[in-house]
């Protein structure tokens, strides 16, 4: 059992309706998407992912008042925030997180801007325990950078979130570097959310587009593995040495074997990347954190502990529930799978370190008040 404080680093919040977003769009874009006949308004989300036969959401998370899972704060508060000593829950959007998958880069940029304002206005105002990701449309990196800087003064807009990859280059490519420059300047980490392979990407996995959700979800980590290798190979951390990276919703037990291979490749191929100053694993040790969910299930508990220890999981893992998704990990379940000596760090202190907070910066359940 773990009864201590918790920072939940992946909580998906959603709009109850499309209309909820309209007031946050500019007049021009509101007119652009408007209902001009029987077809209704233009779609605001990208929906070309593979269908989950259960649905993507835990069945009990649909609000009793109606609407999508994650769209009602009272339900989220009851099911997530008040069930444990949650000091902070970091919001990561739902289907809206796939703005990077829109074909229209200008519309995607406007949607990201509107969604961030919606998140601040409708959610951060509801509970001081909530913090939000800054969603950016990576199609236009300069405008994404401007969006990051727009939120620089709001300490509860805590990280820059990337999901879909609009181009056939992983996120380390220099085309995306204006985003990282703005993130470093404003002291925000980059958070790459897994699963983008199932949406609007060049290929859902290495080797080709898979056809079943079963395949896609098994191979979920492939996407973030590609982005991580790209980040280091293109020298993102050499160029932006204060930047931190969080990989969300892609598990973590795959990391040791990737790093062993990555270091080995560097020894023979250094001449292709002479700007790298250290072994890839050394960049990872300094710049990378990972969320726990979905925690890989090993036949014996000590096996997963051993795997996670290879990358100092006690220091590098941050707890995430992934609420309200169908495969969310409960606090006590995670507590039962990792060593007790890791609990306080994984559930709380590692996230404090990652985001640069102290315990005093965060509200407690007792002090929680509507802002």
């Amino acid at each position: 059992m773990y009864q201590g404080p918790v920072i939940d680093c992946d909580v998906h919040h959603a709009r109850a309706t499309d209309e909820e977003l309209l007031e946050y769009l500019s007049a021009g874009w509101r007119e652009y998407i408007s209902d001009r006949g029987p077809a209704g308004i233009m779609p605001l989300t990208v929906q070309d992912g593979l269908p989950n036969p259960h649905g993507f959401m835990r069945a009990d998370t649909y609000p009793p008042t109606g609407g999508p899972a994650g769209s009602d704060f009272a339900t989220m508060r009851r099911q997530l925030l008040d069930r444990a000593d949650v000091r902070r829950a970091i919001l990561t959007f739902g289907d809206d997180s796939h703005v990077g998958g829109h074909h229209n880069p200008y519309f995607a940029t406007e949607l990201a801007r509107a969604l961030n304002d919606w998140s601040v206005d409708r959610w951060l105002s509801a509970d001081t325990r909530l913090a939000s990701s800054i969603l950016v449309a990576s199609q236009l990196p300069d405008q994404a950078a401007a969006e990051i800087r727009r939120h620089a003064g709001n300490p509860r807009m805590v990280q820059v979130m990337l999901v879909d990859n609009p181009y056939n280059y992983p996120f380390g490519h220099p085309v995306f570097h204006p985003i990282y420059q703005a993130a470093e300047e404003t002291g925000r980490p980059i958070a790459i959310h897994g699963g983008a392979g199932g949406w609007a990407n060049p290929a859902s996995t290495g080797g080709g587009n898979v056809n079943l959700y079963f395949e896609a979800h098994t191979l979920w980590p492939q996407v973030v593995m590609t982005h991580l290798v790209s980040f280091i190979s293109h020298g993102v951390f050499d160029k932006f040495p204060r930047l931190k990276l969080l990989l969300i919703e892609a598990g973590s037990a795959w990391l040791p074997s990737l790093l062993w291979r990555f270091d080995s490749e560097y020894k023979g191929l250094r001449r292709e990347v002479p700007w790298l100053k250290r072994l890839p694993s050394e960049y990872v040790a300094e710049h990378l954190w990972l969320t726990t969910q979905p925690l890989e299930v090993s036949p014996k508990r000590e096996q997963i502990t051993q795997m996670l220890s290879w990358f100092d999981g006690d220091r590098k893992l941050v707890y995430s529930s992934d609420y309200p998704h169908w495969d969310a990990d409960e606090i006590q379940y995670v507590a039962s799978r990792i060593p007790e000596s890791w609990h306080r760090r994984v559930f709380f202190e590692n996230a404090l370190e990652f985001y640069g907070w102290t315990e005093a910066d965060l509200p407690t359940a007792a002090s929680m008040a509507v802002a």
Binding site: V236, D238, K267, W275
Partner: protein, 129 residues
């Protein structure tokens, strides 16, 4: 003990030539006015390092750059591409890995190499990865 391995003029600038010295294969390198001697054994997987490519060192001040430092002689193993700085023997990726280099000097136009006693470390170096 210094061993005369030939006249300096027998070794071309910017090249490596492997010769036998007291039963050991030693690569003699002339680079940028200096002479180096290195055991023909990569400490990674015991490859014939002296059959590899000799070059300057590729460097970059920032990501995407590609500059050539000709002052540093680099020998890349033909087996796995590991690069070593011949001035020290150290691998570029990790100073813990190093080739066995020998003291060498030029006297009266002759190249003299001190291969010393057969190193007991060599066998251990072979299995380091």
């Amino acid at each position: 003990m210094s061993i005369d391995v030939g006249a300096l003029t027998e070794f071309a600038e910017g090249a490596i030539r492997t010769i036998g010295v007291n039963g050991r294969e030693v690569g003699i390198v002339r680079w940028n006015g200096a002479v180096y001697a290195v055991h023909n054994l990569c400490t990674h997987q015991s490859g014939p390092i002296c059959s590899g490519v000799l070059s300057g060192r590729l460097t970059a001040a920032s990501p995407g750059g590609m500059d050539l430092d000709l002052s540093t002689p680099i020998l890349a193993c033909p087996w796995h591409g590991w690069e070593f700085d011949l001035r020290t023997g150290h691998a570029l990726h990790d100073a813990q890995h190093r080739l066995h280099t020998f003291p060498v000097h030029v006297e009266n136009g002759r190249v003299l190499v001190d291969i010393g006693p057969v190193s007991r470390d060599t066998a251990a170096q072979r299995v380091q990865v």
